[in-house]
Amino acid sequence: MRVLILSAGLSDLGPAEAGALVGRAWADLGHQVALVPLGIGGQGLADAVSGIPDVVLLQPGAGESSASVGRSLRVALDAGTVLVDLTGDCPDDAGAGLLAELEGTERPPGQRLVGVVRSDELDAPLLGVRGVAARRAYASGGSDVGAALSGDAALARLASDIGLPDPPPGAGAGNGLALGIMALGGVVRTGPAVVGELVAIEASLAAADLVVLVAPTLDFGGAGIEEARAAAAWAQQGLLPCIALATRVQISSRELRTFGVESAYELGTDVPVAASRVARTWSW
């Protein structure tokens, strides 16, 4: 039997370490185990991609200008893939500083540039009522129509100036920094999607008999749900059962089954013992 472990970590272990610990439970029963670390964004994404060769991850912070992202990109010109984490705070200039910083710099044609976004920002519009300026102007109960309109007009001018007069869906992700990434020929993907592409997960899925998600928490408030959705979607793609093991599980089996996870098991503090019990159940 071949088991594909997708690990976002456990409460006190990183993705790789937690995945290896859980995977040992199946390996001890004589099964083959493959491990893919998963990350949505932030430290989890950094942990997940740290072992993948030829990948550079940039994690911008809040601020007025994205020029520092441009400087980091220039330093990373020889990397095969550059990921820009857009899931956290991002600068306010929709990539204008990034593009100015890279003006005249020849990016290698084969280099892949990916903005990593939360799944709910995959299609985030740059402009309009649901766009970056409107979201910013109306944040925290604000109601300044004028600020929304002038901000939207400035973003429309920038998009036009950089050759994207009709910004594609997703350009509004990461406070609009995705626009700059797209202007450089980049794309936006979720963390699990980009990790899946980087490790060619299709090949692992084709060879696997069971998908096991490892996550710190699965709860009805949303923790671990994005990871669970990604794991379940891959399992469905390979027509495989998907189970989840987490340090804490606070979501009903019925809810988990609505997005394709067969069963979830709480590991508690003694991970090897709990994981062995699950491995004996899900073993053939």
Partner: protein, 117 residues
């Protein structure tokens, strides 16, 4: 309740006579006759979008302005596509008080009546 509409149009918003009278009285309370009723759509609320109504003395590029019984109604260009054909009424009954918006573009509304998508 009378729902007579002074101007019938499928473009822009529609303000009923009752709502226009209410807006006039609100402007009179403020001692102003140079204000417009601005209706805008914002991101937010439990259904993703919500309405904002205010008396405004500003005008913005691209505003769609219509006049109903002497009351000007302005819709900014970002909100206009979401409000084509929306009817603003004013209700003053035991079960409902205040301005109401019947928007044919809304696929769903929240129970609070303030949010739609």
């Amino acid at each position: 309740m009378t729902d007579t509409v002074t101007t019938t149009t499928t473009q822009g918003v529609i303000l009923t006579d009752i709502a226009a009278a209410k807006v006039k009285s609100l402007m009179a309370n403020e001692g102003r006759d140079d204000l417009v009723l601005r209706i805008a759509v914002q991101p937010g609320g439990c259904s993703g979008l919500r309405y904002q109504l205010e008396l405004d003395d500003r005008s913005f590029d691209g505003d769609v302005v219509s006049e109903f019984s002497g009351v000007k109604v302005a819709v900014d260009k970002m909100s206009a596509p979401y409000l084509n054909g929306a009817e603003i009424d004013f209700a003053d009954t035991i079960s409902q008080q205040g301005f109401t918006i019947d928007n044919p573009n809304a696929q769903n509304s929240c129970a609070c009546g303030d949010s739609f998508h």
